[in-house]
Amino acid sequence: MDQRRKFHIWMAVTAALILAFSLAALCMGQFRIEPGRVLRELFVERGTDNVHTTIYNIRIPRVIMALAAGAGLAASGAAFQSLFANPLATPDTLGVANGASFGAALGILLGGGAFQVQALALVFGVAAVLLVFAVTRGVGGRDPSMLMVILAGLVISSLFSALVSLIKYIADPQDVLPVITFWLMGRFSGVTRASMLLALPLIAAGTGLIFLLRFRLNALSLSEDEARAMGVDLRLVRALVIAAAAMTTASVVSVCGVIGWVGLLIPHIARMLFGNDNRYVVPASVLFGALFMLAVDTLARCVNTAEIPVSILTAVIGAPVFILLLRKTGGLSE
C-alpha cells in the first residue's frame, strides 16, 4: 500500500481510539461512573454532586495529562534521536529527567507543597540542559560536536542522579523517603487541575515546535556538513530542538515524575511502521505516545486499589510489545 495512505489510515484509527479510550477512562476507576452520565456532564449539563467533581477535577485533568505526557515524551524522544543521529537517544539524554528529579526531591525534602515541588522540578530540569550547554560551550567552543553534547549530558545527568541519591540518603526513611521514591517511579495520581494547567502550555508548545520542525529533523540526522549544505542553520535549529524537547520533558517530569521507556519505545514503533522519515515518525509518535500513556495510566489506577507506579507498567507492557513488534517487522525499519 502507498506509504502516505497507510500513514493516514493509521493516524485516523489511532485518533479515534484515543477519543474512545479517553471517554472510557473517564468512566473507569475505583469509583465507576456510567458512560451516559459522563457524556451528559461533558455535553449537556453539569451537575453539582461528587460525580461532577470527580470528572472535572480529577479524571479530566488526569486523562489530559496522560495524553500530553505520552505525546510529549514520544515526540521529544524522536526529536533527540534525529538530533543526535542516534537511535538510542531518549528525552533524558541531556539529563533533564535527573535534573527535574533532583528539583522535586529537594522540594519534597524541604516540605514544599505540590506547587513548589512542581516548580522546583521544572526549574532544575531546564537548569540541567542549560548546564549541558555551558559545559559544551566551555569545552567545545561555539559549534561543539553532538558527541560533546551527549557526553556533557551524561556528566550532568550523573551529577544530578548522585544529588538525588544524596537527598534520599538524608531524607527521613519513615515519611519523606517513600514519597520521594514513589515520585521517582512516576505517577499521575498527583495531577490536579492546577498542575495540569501549569504544565500543559509548555508541553503543547514544545511538542508543537518539534512537529513544525519535523522535515528539518531529517536533515539534522545526516552528517553536519550535509545538513549545512542543505541550508540548515545548524546552531539555530539544534537550539530550537533541544529547547523544545527539554521544555516538554521537564514539564512532564515535574507533574508526573520519571516515566521511562515511552521516549524510546514509541518512536521506534513508529519507525517500524512508517520508516525513519520524521514527517511520519513525529506525528505518529505524538498519537501513539498519547494512546499508550493513557492506556497505561488507566490500567495503573484500575487493576488494584493501590495504584501501580507508571514506570513499572511502561516497562512491563512496553518490553513485550516491543519484542513482538521486532519479531513481526524483522527489526528497526531501515
Binding site: Q3, Q81, S82, A85, N86, P87, L212, L213, R214, F215, R216, N218, A219, S221, L222, S223, E224, D225, E226, R228, A229, M230, G231, V232, D233, L236, V237, L240, R271, G275, N276, D277, R279, S333, E334
Partner: protein, 273 residues
C-alpha cells in the same frame, strides 16, 4: 559565472598550514579535478571552499561575491555538495533522501510540496536511478547510494556541484557510471563541477582543469593536459608513471600506467631506489 578560491590558507589549530595560498577557479561548464596523495588536504580544501571550515586567509568567491556575504539558504540554491557516500544513522527511502535536496528552498517550518517532489523525481531521472525510488538507502550498494546522493544534490537545481571523492570505493563499472554522469551534467546542463579524486585516469577523462596538491602548501593549477603530466604526477605521488594515449572508435583515451615506487632523497627529488 565562476567559483574561485583566492589565496586560501588553512591550518588545523596551531599546526603548520596544510593549505597555503591556494588559488584556483572553475568557469561555467568546466570540471576541475583536485588530486594529491592521502592526507594532503583535498577534503579540507573542499570544506574550506564551501565554508564548513573557515579560511585563515584568503576567500572563496562565487559569481563575484564573497562566500561570507551569502545569507542563509541562498548559497545552497546555487552550490550543491556531495559527500563521500556513507550509510547514515537513520536511513530514508531513496526518494525521500533525494527530496531532502530541496531543503535550501524550504523554511525551517515548511514541508516539501508537490512541485518539490516533481523536481526530486526529475533529479533521479537525470541520475538514472528512478528505479531506486522506493528502496531504502540502507539496502543500496555503494554505487547506488553515491548516485542517490548526486541526485539529491541535483534536486537543489544548483549551478555548481562539489563532490568529495565521488567514485572511490565503487566497482569498475560504477566508477564509469558516476564519471559519465558528471561529464554529461557539465556538457548538457552547463553545470560547473569540482571534485576530489585519487585517480589521475579519472581526472584525465573528465576534467578541464586540474589542481595538484603536493603538501607543505605547494600546489599547481591549470589546464589538465598541461598540469597532469608524467613529470608532475611523479612528483605528486612518488610513483614512476607513464601516460599512454590510445585512439579507439574515433575517441582518444588516456591511461595512466604506474611503473614503480620512487624513493625520496634528502630534500631532493623522487628517484628510483
Amino acid at each position: 559565472m565562476s567559483i574561485e578560491v583566492r589565496a586560501g590558507t588553512f591550518a588545523y589549530g596551531k599546526n603548520e598550514p596544510i593549505l597555503r595560498d591556494v588559488s584556483f577557479s572553475a568557469e561555467t561548464g568546466e570540471t576541475v579535478a583536485i588530486l594529491g596523495p592521502n592526507g594532503v588536504g583535498k577534503t579540507t580544501l573542499i570544506k574550506c571552499l564551501l565554508g564548513f571550515l573557515p579560511w585563515e586567509r584568503g576567500s572563496t568567491v562565487i559569481d563575484g561575491r564573497e562566500l561570507r556575504d551569502f545569507r542563509g539558504r541562498e548559497l545552497w540554491q546555487r552550490v550543491a555538495y556531495v559527500p563521500q557516500a556513507r550509510k547514515p544513522a537513520f536511513s530514508y527511502l531513496a526518494e525521500d533522501m533525494v527530496l531532502l535536496g530541496r531543503s535550501p528552498y524550504l523554511g525551517d517550518f515548511s514541508m516539501p510540496g508537490a512541485r518539490d517532489r516533481e523536481i526530486a523525481a526529475e533529479a533521479m531521472e537525470l541520475a538514472g536511478i528512478s528505479r531506486l525510488r522506493g528502496r531504502s538507502c540502507a539496502h543500496l550498494s555503494g554505487g547506488e547510494l553515491q548516485l542517490v546522493l548526486i541526485a539529491r544534490a541535483l534536486a537543489a537545481e544548483p549551478e555548481y556541484l562539489v563532490l568529495d571523492e565521488p567514485e572511490s570505493g565503487l566497482d569498475f563499472r560504477n566508477q564509469l557510471v558516476v564519471l559519465d554522469l558528471i561529464a554529461r551534467l557539465c556538457r548538457d546542463r552547463r553545470l560547473t563541477v569540482i571534485l576530489n579524486t585519487h585517480y589521475p585516469d579519472h581526472a584525465l577523462r573528465v576534467s578541464d582543469k586540474a589542481l595538484l596538491l603536493f603538501g607543505n602548501g605547494m600546489h599547481l593549477f591549470g589546464r589538465t593536459e598541461h598540469i597532469l603530466t608524467e613529470e608532475h604526477m611523479r612528483a605528486l605521488f612518488g610513483v614512476d608513471i607513464a601516460v599512454r594515449r590510445e585512439r579507439l572508435n574515433g575517441k582518444e583515451y588516456a591511461a595512466v600506467l604506474p611503473l614503480e615506487i620512487l624513493e625520496k632523497g634528502e630534500n631532493g627529488p623522487w628517484t628510483r631506489p
